[in-house]
Symmetry: C2
């Protein structure tokens, strides 16, 4: 079984109840890795549920138990934008991932070997429903807020549909109500690159025959789609390493070395089948499915307020899609703020543009602090 070793702060939730997948198939139980920050207050009104993007673990931020930086280190902590002196934050490694939670890389108890392509088809709704089991396990009723960036925003939307009165506030960050064909095309090509690698071997790769080429190409394409032309022009320009070697296809430009290094780091750090399943789950997501539109799909949802953030250079989750979420919530009577940030870093801006994102998310969490009905945490 491939799994990133659990970090000191990771807790494992074992659920012995069967879990049925939306598109068929079931697991006899669930193993889900999660981390928390801050303390749940007396009336359990200060819980923030954070869904992740495709590849992150539950380790969103450092803590006393694990001082290593998390993937959203700047955002979460005492005095940070999501202030863990006020809020109790929960982050679960997504079902289907390979960082402690059960997924295609986990052993199938029936065979003692990794599930790989025998794992049930995964949907965003499955990620949402499995995560709710951890929320219930922790004894949390109504959440103060549910949120997520990228794929995490899709999971948060799916969770809201499953738990229409489950949260008072909602933050959608560089996300979308459904996968559109441009993003589908990019993810589809990434999956084809991985699955076509002879070393993928229909999912029967070993540690020795890891589909390195496919993972490297997929990650490079991912990096291109995650960032933006403006950022790279400022960052790399036409800086070169070695000009015009004989062969016309070797690396010349700084940006090419950057992609190579980023891809090389990723290859051993994520299970190829997990990647395929999570990527496919995003393509399959449409919050409006079986409804005329998003408003119809969200009709039962009750929220006190919402914050929708997008970035104008985001190629994968374009501003248009943030607008649809914000307009729909506003039309439903939810007090909604749409923030279109001018970050040059494209889709990845939420990970790196701490000034813009930290300030908007922090302002929002300070403004909703009054809804935490507890002396200790009252604004």
């Amino acid at each position: 079984m491939f799994s990133i070793p659990a970090t000191p702060a990771t807790r494992i939730y074992q659920d012995e109840r069967p879990f049925r997948f939306k598109r068929g198939g079931e697991l006899p139980g669930l193993t889900l890795a999660y981390e928390t920050w801050g303390e749940l207050n007396a009336d359990r009104s200060n819980a923030v549920l954070l869904f992740t993007g495709l590849s992150p673990s539950a380790h969103a931020a450092s803590s006393a138990d694990d001082p290593e930086d998390g993937w959203w280190e700047y955002m979460i902590g005492p005095g940070s934008a999501i202030d863990t002196d006020r809020y109790f934050v929960l982050c679960v490694n997504s079902l289907g991932s390979c960082m402690g939670s059960v997924g295609p890389a986990s052993d199938n108890p029936a065979t003692g070997k990794p599930w790989r392509l025998d794992f049930p088809a995964l949907s965003i709704e499955d990620i949402a429903a499995s995560t709710q089991r951890v929320v219930e396990h922790l004894g949390i009723g109504r959440l103060c807020a549910v949120m997520g960036p990228s794929m995490g925003g899709m999971s948060a939307l799916a969770w809201l549909k499953q738990n229409p009165e489950g949260a008072r506030h909602f933050l959608s960050i560089s996300s979308a109500p459904r996968a559109e064909p441009f993003s589908i095309a990019i993810r589809s090509l990434q999956r084809e690159l991985i699955a076509s690698d002879p070393d993928f071997a229909d999912g029967q790769y070993t540690d020795e025959t890891w589909p390195r080429f496919g993972m490297r190409m997929a990650r490079k394409l991912g990096m291109i789609s995650y960032r933006s032309a403006v950022e790279w022009q400022d960052r790399f320009g036409r800086d070169q390493q070695s000009l015009y070697p004989k062969q016309p296809f070797t690396m010349n430009f700084e940006v090419e070395s950057y992609l190579e290094a980023a891809a090389e780091r990723f290859i051993g750090a994520f299970d190829p089948c997990s990647y395929l399943y999570l990527s496919q789950s995003m393509d399959g997501f449409d919050a409006s499915e079986n409804h005329a539109d998003l408003a119809g799909a969200l009709a039962d949802v009750r929220l006190d307020s919402a914050l929708v953030i997008g970035v104008d250079t985001d190629l994968l989750f374009p501003p248009r899609q943030q607008g649809e979420i914000a307009r729909t919530l506003t039309a439903m009577g939810v007090e909604t703020r749409l923030e279109m940030l001018p970050s040059p870093q494209g889709h990845d801006a939420f990970l790196v543009d701490f000034r813009n994102f930290g300030s908007v998310v922090g302002g929002y969490f300070r403004s909703i602090a009054r809804t935490i009905d507890n002396g200790e945490f009252a604004a």
Copy 2:
């Protein structure tokens, strides 16, 4: 030797003088395929030189000799935007390509086998300089206009630097004064996909061992970068073929079939080494090289007017780069029009958005018709 069969209207120019490449290496002579439309007028003042993008042949439009549609059929012809009743149009298959002109797919006379990776490194400046030999061969002095879309606009800029008083008018269409890292990254990944295909075999592929996988993946990535999210959302939405087959990486969405079909058509139609060389030549292009800026590089250029067209959804040649060309020419005192078109088709819009492009280019050519100093063609 791989070469697309010459079409009936294709003419071959043989130049027996050696040709030195900018970055080293030379050929003992040049073979260049070209086509023309319309008639050169008495004082040879109505010639329009059209440079192509990466993959097109010299067959830009149909004619009596070849009724088959060309790659810019709507743009060129009697009464069309580039009106061949007024103008004499010349289009040359780029040096390095595989559609009649000499390139890596041509036989190396020294070995009797294709050049492949032994072909000299290609630059945009080489394409411009070799093309000028055809212009001179046809007895054309100062051109009425030099123009090109995409890579062709780069070649036209390089040609202007080599022939600063060589044209009265200049049209840059969805092009750029230099390759920026975002476009470099995409092209670099395409080249890596081709060159890493085991069937590429360091350029020693045969008809039986063509690097089909690499070419298919490179073309799919190309298609993604050539179009736009907006167009595909309108065109494909979430239309599906077959929902959720067992394996998580097979084609589900209409957009995936579209890419597959487009890639399949391309595989046998372009030589892999030609693709690598032409792609690399774009990355290597910087009209400002050895100058402080573009204005310095173009200081000697004399033009009566210029038209710069861009598309706001173009990912590869973004509006910012069109702006740089237009601003520079304006500052030089050239009467310059910058048209930023709202086409949804991204970089490929010039090929398909005949309404917007035909109207702007046609209007420009009508407005400069007065510069054709000939009774027959006077406005």
